[in-house]
Structures are given as C-alpha cells and as structure tokens.
C-alpha cells in the first residue's frame, strides 16, 4: 500500500498512517500532558482535598474560591506580581524584539566596516552562560543604584543575542536585496525603505523573536531572584516560589491551593499566546533558526 501510494504521481509522498507509531507517540503525549492535567485538576481543589485526595481525582469544585484567594491573599499581592510581569514582558521583551530586529536587519542587509568583528563578538556571547553574567551585572547595577528596581530586570532582558541571530538569518532570506536597491533608485531613504518595505516582509521573523523573548521574560527566574529584594517588585515566578517556600519549615502555612492555582493562572496567558500565534512562529522558525 505504501509503495503504491508512493508511486502515484499526484501523491508522491504520502505514506500510510501507522497505528503503532501513533500509539508510541501517544505515550509521549501522555507524559507531556500528565503534569498539566494534574495542575488543572489541582487548581479546582481546596487545600484539604489537595492533601487528602488522589492527585488525578477531582474533589469539591473549588476553583473560583481558589482564584479569589489567589487575588486576595497578602493584600492582593498576586495581582501586583501579574502587573509586574506584564511590565517586564512588554518593556523588556518589547525592547529586545526592536533591538534584535533592527540589528539583525542591519547585519543581514548592509555591508559596513567592522561588521565581521561585531558579528563574531555577538555570536561568541551566545555561548556565555547567562548566569555567569548575573553576578557581575548585579555588582555593577548596585554601584549605580539600579538593583531592587524594575530596571534591573528590564535592562538585561532587552539584549537578546539569540534573537539577533534569528533575525539576521531570517532577514537575509526574507528581503530581496534587489527590492531595496529598487527603492534606493526611486529615491527612498534607508529608514523609509525599512518602514515601508522590509518591515512587512519581516513579520514572521519578528513574531518569532518576540515570542521567544516574551517566554524568556515571562519565565525569568534567576535574574529577578538576584536583583530584587522587595516582594512588591517580584514577577509571578518569584512570587509563586515565595508562596511555595511558605508551605514548609517553621511557621509553615498550608497555602498549597494558592501555589497550584497561582501557577495555573501564570501558565494560561503564555500558552494562549503560543497557540494563537503558532502560524507565525512556526513559519518563522523553519525559515530562520535552523537554516543550513
């Protein structure tokens, strides 16, 4: 059957569906979904049900009370964390996307003295572990009074060498140089060419870079952990970790339902963004990141 379909000229590459393969992959799918299912189920349970019932069994449906608790506990600090996270994402990831887009475009489509050196330095930086930067950055920031401010999280998030690399690979394919030269002949300035012609062609690449920057900022833990002391400045990740820490040790508070429900609420927006924008980032990725 496989051989037959292969030989048919209309469908040169459409092998038969394999049930065995589908079952094997379904097992991996279960592995992927089990923790998420656990999280969704747990978010609907009260504290006592969380401890006393089987993890994948529903208890009393307590989701709305949990959500209300999450947003009122400790004077509604969760809402504050959510807003902080949004600020970090919008400003930090936004700046990262803009800088990477401009820089990647410049490196891909222009020739200028020093370009090779710039490029080598930036690529080398991809291999520098982010955590190796954190301590010296913290010390430098504390000298200029930036630690324990929002800028301490935003500024380092704004530089994404990987985003620049993605954008550069994407731009060199997506924008025909002939088009830019035609615009030049028509008397268009470089900035205008960028705004009116190139930007549109770069959209899938920009969405891809933006999404990865958003995920990196939304999920950032190490940088805020080092930079911030004041819980009022925490992003969701750090806040959830703080609540989690409250469940153990001396004076432990049984706030498990806050941790699980708060976690679920922290996951939903970012997963939604990925699902809604998948058409863009999937094309951006296949065109860009792994080009031969």
């Amino acid at each position: 059957m496989t051989e037959l379909t292969r030989r048919m000229p209309q469908a040169p590459h459409r092998p038969r569906r394999s049930v065995v393969l589908t079952i094997v992959m379904a097992l991996l799918l279960v592995y992927t979904l089990v923790p998420l299912a656990w999280l969704v189920i747990s978010a609907t349970k009260s504290n006592s049900d969380l401890v006393n019932t089987f993890g994948f069994a529903f208890g009393h449906f307590n989701l709305f009370a949990n959500v209300a608790d999450v947003f009122t506990y400790e004077g509604g600090v969760y809402g504050r964390w959510l807003i902080n996270t949004l600020i970090y994402v919008v400003v930090g990831a936004g700046a990262a996307t803009v800088l990477a887009t401009l820089g990647g475009y410049g490196l891909a489509k222009y020739d200028f003295p020093g370009k090779k050196a710039v490029f080598a330095i930036i690529l080398g930086a991809i291999a520098v572990p982010g955590t190796a930067l954190a301590v010296p950055t913290f010390l430098l920031f504390s000298k200029v009074g930036l630690t324990n401010t929002m800028w301490a999280v935003i500024l380092p998030s704004a530089i994404s060498p990987f985003g620049l690399y993605l954008m550069w690979v994407f731009a060199s394919d997506a924008i025909p140089t002939e088009l830019m030269e035609a615009a030049r002949v028509d008397g268009s300035g470089e900035l205008r060419t960028f705004r009116t012609i190139s930007l549109r062609l770069l959209v899938p690449g920009i969405v891809t870079v933006a999404l990865f920057a958003i995920v990196a900022t939304w999920n950032n833990y190490f940088l805020p952990l080092i930079m911030l002391n004041d819980p009022k400045l925490y992003p969701l990740t750090l806040g959830l970790q703080q609540w989690n820490a409250e469940t153990v040790g001396v004076g432990a508070k049984p706030v498990f339902s806050l941790v699980t429900t708060g976690s679920l609420l922290a996951v939903i927006p970012i997963v939604a963004a990925f699902l809604l924008l998948q058409r863009y980032w999937q094309s951006g990725l296949s065109a860009g990141s792994v080009k031969q």
């Binding site: 656990w38 401009l102 370009k115 010296p136 394919d173 989690n244 792994v290 031969q292």
Partner: protein, 313 residues
Amino acid sequence: MTSQISVAPPRPRAERAAPRTKHSPLKRRISAAGWGFVLPFFIGFVLLVVVPVGYSIYLSLYRNQLIGGNHFVGFANYLQAFTDADFWSGVLRVSLFLVVQVPIMLALALICALAIDSGRLHGKSFFRIVLFLPYAVPGVVAVLMWGFMYNPRAGLTGALGHLLGFTIDPISTQWVLPAIGNIVTWEFLGYNMLIFYAALSTVPRELYEAAAIDGAGAFRTIFSVKLPALRGSIVIATIFSIIGSFQLFNEPNILRTTALGIIPTNFTPNLYAYTLSFSGNQVNYAATVAIIMSVFTAVIAYVVQLRGSRKDA
C-alpha cells in the same frame, strides 16, 4: 563544509551587489545606515554583556580581605578553585547529568520529530503543538508541579508506588538528580523536537522521491537522507543542551526550598557561585567559578561543533 552551519553567516547579498566606486557617497550612506541599524543593539550589548564579562574577569584576579582590602592576587582564585572539592563535586554532578540526560532528551526529541515528519501519524499538528507546550510553561511552575507529584504521600509517585508494590522517593539524596533530569527533559523535549522538525521540513521532497526510487525503505531513508540533513540542527541542540546542563540552577534551587537538606548549596557550580556571592559574600571567588564554567562550556561546545561538522562524523 555545508554542515558547519550553526554559526556560519549566510552570505550577505550586499557583498555581491553591483560594483560601485569605492568611496561613493551612496556607498557611504548605505554603510552609515547599516551601522545605524546595528548601533542600538550594539550599545546595549557592550554595556550589558561586554562590560560585565570584563568586570567578572577583573574580579576573578582580585581578593577582598579584612586585612589589606581589595588587592591583586593574579591566578590565586583559579588555583583555589582547581583544588576545591566543593566545586568539583558540582562539576562532576552536572557532567553526569550532561552525559545521561542530554542524550535521552535529544534522542526522544529526534524520534518525535521524525515521527511527526514521516506523515504516518494521526493528527500530526496536534502532536507537534502539544509536545511543544511545556516549553512555554515557566520553569518555576514546572518544578512546582513535579515537586508536588514527586511527593510520596499525596503525589503521583506515591500512588504509582502503591500500584507497583515498591516506592522510591524522588526527593532523596539518591534520586534527586534523575528527578531533576526528568523535569528538564519534560521542559525541553518539545523545544528540541521543534528545532529538528523545522530542519526536516526544509529537506527538499525530491530527495525522498529519489531515495524511494532507489528502493530505500523508511529506515534507510532516515539514516541516509534525514539524519545527515539534521546534522547541523543536532549540533545546535547539543550545544544549547550543554550550556543548559552546565548552567543548571533553577530546578535544584526551587526544589531546595521544599526538599530541605537534600540538595546541598554546591549541588551545581552555578548554585555554588550563587551561594558564594549572595550568602558567603565571596564575589571574587564566585566570579572565578563562573568564568571557569564559561570556559568549560565554550571548549566543549567548540569540540562538539568541530566533531559535528566533520564529514565522516
């Protein structure tokens, strides 16, 4: 040569543009525009990457002592690190993690990508998107979830143990490293799958047809056509995974808060550097540890890339 892609720049078309006189105003304008586009990123990069790296190197050559203050010690911090058992036990642990977890994760990711690309699956786009989802889940949340499920009393492993008749406690000195390996695999399986899948989808379909005409079966096609085409992305994924393993911090640090006494402060080199600088107030030594780990990472990544781009590899 073609497979040496990970960092090889695509040839900018500008270089091949029609020849112009060397210092024409147009060319100068274009060149200035190029710098203009790159400059904002470059300034930020210098301030937030180059300067901290330089400062880190500076710190590693100094020592701050009660008597004598801050003074130059040359490579004394490095010598100290090379004989520091606390540091090396962490290096060994992440190396073990690297040689066990990374191959398992990448092999699974490769199988997933090949399966999805083969067109033999029911609902392939559903598989692709669901397997990728954990990447979007914050690492903190992933660790919290697995931490709960690892709980032998209320969690999944307790129930599973009941079913099988024996229990292992994932949060114990013996099992915590595999337990972390499982969390990391869960987080990044789909991400690596997507990298491989994206590379597979750029393979020209005519190659498959040619292989089929030559009588190659599915497995033969995988080994002769698909895997060679994937070599570049396998190198990239391996390098990113090496960096990730050597940087291991978030998972053990979050588990630490609820698994009291199981994970020591020198569990990974990063955790060690973090503890040194923020609890031990030894920033100079912490910087040294971070630099040594960066050099290790760079050397191993470089070796992987060299081997990966060899024709007969």
